[in-house]
Symmetry: C2
Subunit: 343 residues, 2 copies
DNA sequence: CTGAAAGCGCTAACAG
DNA sequence: CTGTTAGCGCTTTCAG
């Protein structure tokens, strides 16, 4: 019925011709420029509807040098913390008028994300996964690319960073355990490369020391990556000890869930014989099967702040780099406390 | 040291000038055009390195009308099936030279994804989440947009579709339960809008009927959405029945995990008193705490096929729409069987 | 093999 | 208020 001259989807020229205006006017109504007579605007809109026209995003992106894409690099989607983070990020980014491009560290190191900014395929990136070892990223930062680090941070790097008080979280756990009279406190630790993990551990250790109960290294195990399986195995080994721990802090929830199941597997009563604490408060921590005491990070606030900072940079903001640290909260559940102690 | 004339990142012209060649030649080496003398190629590469040049992705996308982005619409990242799917998708897309743009159905209906194709912001989309109610999507399909449906499909729609044999999975569960002599078989069902759920349920019901043991509707509950919580509650109600079920099929794993915890909460022995079966085989199904019998979908194969089909369409393929149905597999674990029956 | 030249579809001055 | 005119940075004929 309305097949245009050429093939392919309609362009703003097609609209212009059919509406009897200049292409510039079409562009004006597209971008919401107010100085277009209502009459013309209506006419143009009509034709747009009629031809079911959609402006070509690539052309627009090229002109404006804005893609509307924000890249997000996450570390292992297998850790439920990251889907939770993505969910919040996706919601807030869409709300801010952006799309979310996702890279999973499993598939490719963060270089892919970094490439995307350098090639202007995304307007900025949010890294959840940065460590001091991210050299490509570091180089890119020198070019003032809009990058914000969330969750994991790297001290001294020239970019905005948002984290929660992991050190304080670790301290709170130590406080709680000692105050509750736990005697053989264990730790399942991880690589100190990730700032989150490092800070939790050191906060925990330091506070134990301050309280006069320094960590017994025999009760401390380090896993090489974070998964249910590694947690399960590490806890298994700890529970085999002659002098097994009566409390176990795991540097994140995934580890803790594995550890909790190791206890279940061996018939170790939690919290009767063993208290367990995780970190992150992923959804499953609250499930009946685990009922895990943990430290909750303020994900929504972190994400909100991160996006705010990123958008400022994208809009050309050039002030000092900010380092945001948000408070978090010890959430006490059934894996600690005396509820079933009678067992 | 090497600050160019203008501001902003270097362009292919900057490279050309500095290398003493034409801009076209730079473009040729960028696109790997073989007919460039080795000597010139080297010189150009050198300058590219030196200026740390990266071709502008937007400009390239506009010229080639290829963005290198594939959109993926998922339904609720809160269901671990989707992160698992994303992980596979991300890996395989990157391997195929694409980036993955993610939309979560929570944040915005799939219209956003559909918009992105119409605006050529992505080269194609993979929908995991389509239902017959997706009208915008349906309209877009008429324009031959490269779209493939994975997981959830919609019969008769003009696009490629990839699913696993959900009906067969439901039948297998029914078979297994009846063959094992379960007497009061229950079902936690969901909305029939999603093809996956619909097929599992109908396969299950039909097979029960065929075996002469039609489903007792008193033991069937439908949840309005899929979450741990709804599963927990639904199972709770079923377990309160005077004649409670001795086997419970849940149409997906998340529901089943909630149901399993409801049993735990009430002290109902699984599998001693109650057998439980889920669907999807998400990672947690295999965890000690759940040890859930379930049906495993062949995610990697599904994704591989979906990407293959999508790329064909993107490359202009115009053959008949294909409807792929892959086999899946009943995975038997501790939530069924007689291992602990003595209890 | 290499350079010159023509746009991709859009936005944004700049005139009128 | 509206039309004309330039490009954004790249790929790709088309000559040479």
């Amino acid at each position: 019925m309305n097949s245009n001259s050429k093939s392919g989807p309609a362009t703003s020229y097609d609209i212009a011709r059919r509406a009897g205006v200049s292409q510039a006017t079409v562009s004006r109504v597209l971008t919401g420029n107010p100085k277009v007579r209502q009459e013309l605007r209506n006419k143009v809109m009509e034709v747009i509807q009629e031809l079911n026209y959609r402006p070509n995003g690539m052309a627009r992106a090229m002109r404006t040098s804005r893609t509307g894409n924000i890249g997000v690099a996450v570390s292992r989607l297998a850790n439920p913390l990251y889907p939770e983070l993505l969910q919040v990020l996706g919601r807030m980014l869409i709300h801010a008028g952006f799309r979310m491009v996702v890279w999973n560290a499993d598939e490719l190191n963060e270089d892919a994300a970094v490439d995307a900014v350098s090639e202007s395929r995304v307007d900025g990136i949010i890294m959840t996964t940065a460590t001091a070892a991210s050299t490509r990223l570091y180089e890119t930062l020198q070019t003032n690319a809009p990058v914000v680090l969330i969750n994991r941070t790297v001290e001294g790097w020239p970019c905005d960073q948002v984290a929660s008080d992991n050190r304080g979280g670790g301290q709170a756990v130590a406080d709680y355990l000692v105050r509750s009279g736990r005697l053989r406190i264990g730790l399942i630790a991880g690589s100190a490369l990730a700032s989150t993990i490092r800070d939790r551990q050191s906060g925990f250790r330091e506070q134990l020391a301050i309280l006069g109960r320094p960590l017994d290294e025999a009760l401390c195990l380090e896993v090489d990556h974070f998964s249910y399986k590694t947690g399960f195995e590490a806890a298994g080994r700890l529970l085999e000890l002659a002098e097994a721990p009566d409390a176990l802090f795991c540097v994140n929830d995934v580890i803790a869930l594995g550890a909790r199941d190791a206890a279940r597997h061996r018939g170790v009563d939690v919290p009767g014989k063993l208290w367990m604490i995780g970190y992150d408060d992923i959804e499953m921590a609250s499930w009946q099967a685990f009922d895990l005491t943990t430290v909750r990070q303020p994900l929504p606030q972190m994400v909100e702040k991160a996006i705010e900072l990123l958008l400022e940079r994208i809009d050309g903001g050039t002030g000092e780099y900010r380092n945001i640290c948000l408070p978090n909260k010890l959430v006490i559940r059934g894996s600690t406390g005396w509820r079933t102690q009678g067992q």
